[in-house]
């Protein structure tokens, strides 16, 4: 349950952080939202890659 809660929090928070980060490069809200969506998807990809690497390290060195 706790893990599910954290995942439910993670994705929207990632989008909100992306709004602020990409907002610096835009003038209007519309452009910012569009770019933030793309940036969130990219960051989710990075997250998945990092989690996969961590699981692989756990599998190789700990299990």
């Amino acid at each position: 349950m706790n893990l599910l809660l954290r995942l439910l929090v993670y994705v929207p928070v990632l989008f909100l952080i992306a709004l602020v980060v990409v907002g610096q490069q835009h003038v209007t809200a519309r452009e910012t939202v569009r770019d933030a969506g793309r940036r969130t998807v990219r960051w989710l990809g990075y997250t998945a890659a990092i989690v996969a690497v961590m699981l692989a390290i756990e599998f190789v060195f700990i299990d």
């Binding site: 706790n2 809660l5 929090v9 928070v13 709004l19 602020v20 907002g23 809200a29 910012t32």
Partner: protein, 300 residues
């Protein structure tokens, strides 16, 4: 190269340069930059407001501020091993590592010299809660932030004096004011600087992350007494930190910590760091009306 082109290139190169370390360090003394600019009454107002705000909070917290320091004068000493004498000596000289109060150097130094006692009973007192310490801690921190905004105002003034010509358009509002208002209410600085929609969006993003953090921490995610180091980041969202200091932090915690307290503390700190980006962007949006980025690009 013609003389005119060379002159333009030189001006652009100068505009891309910073103002130097001297100007940077002058920013730690509220009003000194305004004084150097010849704005004596503004300099007095800067020094007066920062000092007044600090001591309005200091009467509640006094030596408790040492307990809020990034490296406590005794803990930091132990952690630093043979360099352990550094932190108590700095504290004795009025320079404990308390942030953001340190940005308001003179008032903070005076307050620290007046209250420093490194005897064992004095050290015990740093750790004891005080009445109204949440509000007091917020006010002393706000004085540090105010000093930073006055410094930003002075920096813009110095830059205006150095780089502006008769054709330079004035900014829609003072960049430092845009920055300071964004500290209290994220996005308000952007609205003043002419980017209302983007400001509203960025402000809502900061407020939403802060609210999620507060809910996750069941109202105890922003409390300087519980997590003073995390609070340094959280205080970068002044409106949120003020809300917590007035409403949620004074409420006593139950017998056990909330289950997701660390998640809430993290999220509120993230919200503060997001607001730092919003504040810097608000300053930049206002500043670039007068000094567009083109000047730096030309110099490169």
């Amino acid at each position: 190269m013609t003389t005119a082109t060379a002159a333009t290139g030189k001006a652009a190169q100068r505009a891309a340069m910073g103002l130097g370390w001297g100007t940077f360090f002058c920013g730690f003394l509220p009003g000194l930059l305004q004084y150097r600019l010849g704005q004596r009454s503004r300099a007095a107002v800067a020094l007066g407001t920062c000092t007044l705000l600090f001591f309005m909070g200091w009467v509640f917290v006094r030596d408790r501020l040492f307990g809020f320091a990034l490296l406590s004068p005794d803990d930091g000493g132990r952690a630093a091993g043979r360099f352990g004498w550094v932190w108590p000596t700095l504290a004795k000289m009025g320079l404990p590592l308390t942030l953001p109060e340190l940005l308001n150097l003179p008032a903070h130094a005076l307050g620290s010299i007046l209250s420093f006692d490194d005897s064992p009973s004095g050290q015990r007192l740093w750790r004891l809660p005080r009445r109204m310490e949440d509000l007091g801690g917020f006010l002393t921190a706000a004085s540090g932030m105010l000093a930073a905004f006055w410094s930003a105002d002075g920096h813009f003034g110095m830059r205006w004096q150095r780089d502006a010509s008769e054709q330079t358009p004035p900014p829609p509002c003072s960049p430092a004011l845009a920055c300071g208002l964004s500290w209290l209410l994220p996005g308000l600085g952007h609205a003043l600087a002419g980017q209302r929609g983007k400001g509203l969006l960025m402000g809502l993003a900061v407020a939403a992350v802060f609210a999620i953090g507060m809910v996750a921490g069941e109202g105890h995610a922003v409390d300087r007494a519980i997590a003073p180091v995390w609070w340094i980041g959280q205080s970068l969202f002044g409106g949120g930190a003020l809300f917590a200091a007035l409403i949620t932090a004074p409420i006593a915690m139950g017998p056990s910590f909330p289950e997701n307290l660390e998640l809430g503390t993290n999220l509120c700190t993230v919200a503060g760091l997001m607001n730092l980006v919003v504040m810097v962007d608000a300053f930049t949006v206002a500043e670039r009306v007068s000094f567009p980025l083109r000047a730096a690009a030309v110099a490169k």
